[in-house]
Symmetry: D2
Subunit: 133 residues, 4 copies
């Protein structure tokens, strides 16, 4: 499978909880950081956008937890972007442990663009991100 963007991480001990595995909430951090680095790779900064009054807002997260990560595991987070109707963007994201490619997470994160609190067309943003058709 082909991905538009891939980012590599190492689990940090403070991300693990008393079960000795990465706490569920931290996977959202990994997924978010990958989305933001994807934007950066396209010349777009999430914090600059915010300073300009344009926010990307997550409206829905569907996350399947397949297998837990543990202390010092290395892993990649993948990203594919597609349009979802007229106003939504859908980020299909997966996490794989490396080097054995064990699937850890399969997620779909849906978002909208919002200017000063009002939803706006994601069209200009999608153009910048170079949507594949």
């Amino acid at each position: 499978m082909e991905y538009e963007y891939i980012l590599e991480f190492t689990v940090r001990d403070y991300e693990c909880d008393l079960q000795g595995i990465v706490n569920n909430a931290n996977y959202q951090h990994y997924l978010e950081h990958t989305r933001h680095e994807f934007l950066v790779s396209k010349g777009i900064s999430f914090s600059d956008l915010h300073d300009q009054g344009l926010d990307l807002i997550v409206t829905r997260a569907v996350i399947d937890y397949k297998f837990p990560l543990r202390s010092h595991d290395k892993f990649i987070v993948t990203l594919n972007l597609r349009r979802d109707g007229n106003v939504r963007l859908a980020f299909e994201q997966e996490i794989f442990r490396i080097p054995d490619k064990k699937q850890i997470i399969k997620a779909e994160i849906t978002g909208i663009a919002s200017r000063n609190g009002k939803p706006v067309s994601p069209e200009p943003l999608i153009k910048m991100l170079g949507e594949k058709s």
Copy 2:
């Protein structure tokens, strides 16, 4: 609507990110803490269970983000538990800002019971939790 368990929180400033709103991952912390306190209210400790080799594992989270929480907002997290097939538990959870009852989050968190890494029947656990039929 009736809830099996309700827990009240206040947003802490460190939970807000540079958009000035609660970071998405922190809602999972709120949801998780409510589930664990629900267990405690039934005389079950998540960390004691872990020490006995029994872990509750989240396998799927579906979270709809309806409206963001901000610094110092007060809110409640609700919980209803139902069986989902033979091996899964489903926690239906919502977050409402108080006192205006604005809906913030609607989530369904699915989990399984696992002993030493193998899925086990959630039946004894459900009995302890007093499943409504």
Copy 3:
């Protein structure tokens, strides 16, 4: 001993790390949240101050870790404020497990007031906070 402000907490499981104890960084969260709630109790909001261009900046933290907190421990965080020279505020803060009053943390957090990135006199702020002389 007398304290100007006291806030009560319960350890949340996600705050514990793989050692089964609260991760060191989280004590700073507890200390910070207590300082911010102290401000709120005086009618001052940290986030409102920020929106007005006035930030409170921590310049030094000295934290003695006496004993660890564990899952579901209840505890209080105490706060005393004193002036430290002309431009600095010093927050003396301690954490005690309850009900047994076991000392967990002894900390001194030093800060300055900063307007648009420049240090300013903390005098007006101290007046609002009702400094004891």
Copy 4:
């Protein structure tokens, strides 16, 4: 200056708070992760040590906050280890933004080795870590 260990990071947006700068507690995460990766570089895993009943416990943190990090800043965390009396280890750690070498944090983190809750000599550990004399 020479350092025994250096680790490079990028600020992740979720580490920034509503002031738009890295939240104070997260610097402790950076410092801790660097200490643990230093151990790994010497063939020692913090989580393996824990599973063997040996914990490294931080007893004191002195952290000077010199300048804040912001979204997407790149930085290094440095580490030098020295013995502090008979039972303590002192980690001298600094954070510098790169590439401009702006000093961000200067910290001294003191710890002890503890076996099943009792302090033990750090001698074997120091030998493994190749203390400079």
